[in-house]
């Protein structure tokens, strides 16, 4: 029986326009449709596959505002068994350190965790650092960039795929933290039956105090780094047209040399 915790984050839908709040440069989460991050759908899918291959229980864990319940329900309707939702006004603007601390404390509430599965990097404020911080805080080995995962007895095997190094095979003893890539799987759609079943699954809602943490350790005011300024991406410029009068190739090469690209 593998006891799995999947870390899920609600993010602004990449299909809608995303904005930063004028005042504190945190993500304006109200301005866009919020969805379960796709990378986390993949993390849930992987957990469900491990569960279905043997035996197990899948708990989803989410740190986020009240409306993150929508993302949690999505994970439950896919087939996760239960959820923990850490929601607290004090968390607004938390940095990666605080987020990781909160997640670690919440994982402490789940008995006998064998495996923590996270996304490599989230699609909103993606620092790509939460899983690493968490592994450190929990004292668990971390297996990153997983594009294939298998649990064998008390060990976990991961194919790690990166652009630079190709594929590396990793193995660790459980419990461990795994972070998965976009390529790991195709997440299933929930079914209508799953949606109905999700309604009855337990969701435990916790505050920072419930986790034994101090509000002074989290939130925007206590972040170790701040965003001091933000500017929208400059619009794309028209580019340069090269007329081909038989010497188009040469002109392109000259242009690339001029840009120090070749």
């Amino acid at each position: 029986m593998t006891n799995i915790v999947v870390l899920v984050k609600q993010v602004p839908d990449t299909y809608s326009e995303r904005k930063l709040a004028e005042t504190d440069h945190t993500l304006d989460r109200e301005s866009a449709d919020a969805v379960l991050d796709e990378i986390n759908e993949r993390a849930v899918e992987e957990a469900l596959k491990i569960k279905e291959a043997g035996e197990g229980e899948v708990t989803v864990l989410c740190v986020g505002p009240d409306r993150a319940t929508d993302a949690i329900r999505k994970a439950l309707s896919m087939g996760a068994d239960k959820a923990i939702h850490v929601s607290d006004e004090a968390l607004h603007g938390s940095d990666i350190l605080a987020t990781a601390k909160v997640i670690a404390a919440a994982i402490g509430k789940v008995e006998g965790v064998d495996l923590v599965i996270a996304g490599n990097e989230s699609s909103d404020g993606g620092a790509g650092a939460v899983p690493a911080l968490l592994a450190e805080l929990l004292g668990m080995p971390q297996l990153t960039y997983a594009h294939h995962v298998s649990v064998e007895g008390s060990a976990i095997k991961v194919d790690r795929e990166t652009a630079d190094e190709g594929i590396t095979h990793l193995e660790a003893n459980l419990p461990a933290v795994v972070s998965v890539t976009e390529k790991i799987n195709e997440p299933r759609y929930p079914s209508f039956k799953g949606i109905m079943a999700a309604k009855k699954k337990p969701v435990e809602t916790l505050t920072v105090a419930d986790l034994g943490l101090d509000a002074g350790e989290v939130g925007l005011d206590n972040a170790w780094s701040t965003v001091s300024e933000a500017a929208p991406k400059p619009p794309r410029t028209a580019g340069e047209k090269v007329e081909d009068d038989g010497d188009g190739g040469t002109k392109i090469a000259e242009y690339l040399v001029g840009q120090k690209l070749i």
Partner: protein
């Protein structure tokens, strides 16, 4: 602008979110290619089945979703908005389950309904014949009892999913007694003596097959008779009253897709140094299109809420079908106008929408027949 919906529950919201996700990621991107290739989207129906969308308005006891029509129709609308042939197919499948769900005995329902609603099977509804279209009661496909089987002979026409479906809810003549001589059989696709003719070559909805089904000494077990002998026409018309709501919802989805495309184009296209949406002549056209879409939606939802409460809804369903399909025809035609020359090419989807909008004015009772249904109620009131 996506349709703004008031839904009765969180589950309904999640269901619509799931539907939109499937529509956006799995249906919309393939519609054009399949329509051009006249390829039947069987895999897409399987996905809908796996997601529990092929039995939504039926009882949970037999594997249905137990959702009200108010919700089911909005699911249908979203699917039709992404791909009309799949939306109409879902509506036809749902209608083809109606006879068993409401006129079958418990024994029949226990035996077949879970399969019909389970998602693996696809249904068809066979009422029309070449000489019996609007005048459905004139149908002549004969079923003669021979021991514990009916021997069926004749040709059903215009059957959506003909040759692709797994079962055919079929109206046959069991006695010469006019409208009282019609009965309803649940015919399995692999019935010996049943075959499909070459599909019709249609103006639109080309990914959906429409063909004649030929019964040639086809032997159908008598335990597949739904309702009493002679109750067939009532069952057929009852199925259609609900089915029409489905067609209304599909028409609204199609019109919404055309409106969205027209607004997108009008915002981007400039002439005389302005976006064309800034010309009042175009802006008013778009506003009228939006008014047609939203009032049609309100009309079918009103009929659905009556049905969900067990109130009579036949007139309202006919009004919804009439209004929504005529609106869809107008809105899709105007969408082509908004896109100008581009709208007339196959590089944009609106010419296809316009072709697809024509047939909802014709099937499941032409819009002339809807007027007759409405007028009959006025006369009898």
């Amino acid at each position: 602008m996506p349709a703004e919906r008031l839904l009765p529950s969180t589950e309904a919201e999640d269901l619509l979110a799931l539907t939109r996700e499937i529509a956006r990621d799995e249906l919309a991107p393939r519609a054009d290619e399949y329509e051009q290739a006249e390829r039947f989207p069987r895999e897409q129906f399987r996905l809908l089945g796996k997601s529990g969308l092929l039995g939504l308005p039926y009882a949970e006891r037999w594997g249905g979703g137990d959702v009200p029509y108010e919700v089911y129709l909005q699911v249908l609308e979203e699917i039709a908005s992404a791909w009309m042939s799949v939306g109409v197919g879902l509506s036809v499948h749902t209608m083809s389950c109606f006879a068993l769900a409401f006129y079958g005995t418990d024994e029949q329902r226990d035996r077949w309904l879970p399969d019909l609603l389970g998602g693996d099977l696809l249904g068809a509804y066979a009422l029309s014949e070449t000489h019996a279209g609007s005048d459905a009661a004139a149908l002549s496909t004969r079923a003669v009892r021979d021991g514990d089987e009916y021997v069926v002979n004749g040709t059903k026409a215009w059957i959506t999913h003909g040759g692709k479906a797994d079962f055919y809810t079929t109206m046959v003549r069991t006695s010469p007694a006019g409208s009282k001589g019609i009965s309803c059989l649940l015919v399995a696709a692999d019935t010996p003596g049943l075959s499909a003719a070459t599909p019709e070559r249609k103006m639109g909805m080309t990914a959906s097959t429409t063909s004649q089904m030929i019964f040639s000494d086809a032997r159908v077990p008598t335990d597949r008779l739904l309702g009493e002998e002679g109750a067939g026409l009532r069952i057929a018309l009852d199925s259609l009253a609900s089915g029409r709501l489905g067609i209304a919802a599909c028409a609204v989805g199609l019109a919404q897709a055309a409106l969205d495309e027209a607004v997108r184009y009008a915002t981007e296209r400039t002439q005389f140094g302005k976006s064309i949406i800034d010309f009042q002549g175009v802006e008013f056209l778009l506003a009228d299109m939006a008014a047609a879409v939203e009032s049609s939606r309100a009309t079918y939802l009103e009929a659905a809420r009556r049905k969900d409460r067990g109130l009579p809804f036949a007139r309202q369903a006919s009004i919804a079908k009439l209004v929504a399909t005529d609106s869809a025809m107008k809105v899709t035609t105007d969408a082509v106008q908004v896109l100008g020359g581009a709208g007339y090419t196959k590089d944009f989807p609106v010419e296809r929408y316009m072709r697809e909008a024509k047939v909802p004015q014709i099937f499941e009772g032409t819009n002339q027949i809807q007027r007759m249904v409405i007028a009959k109620e006025l006369r009898n009131a």
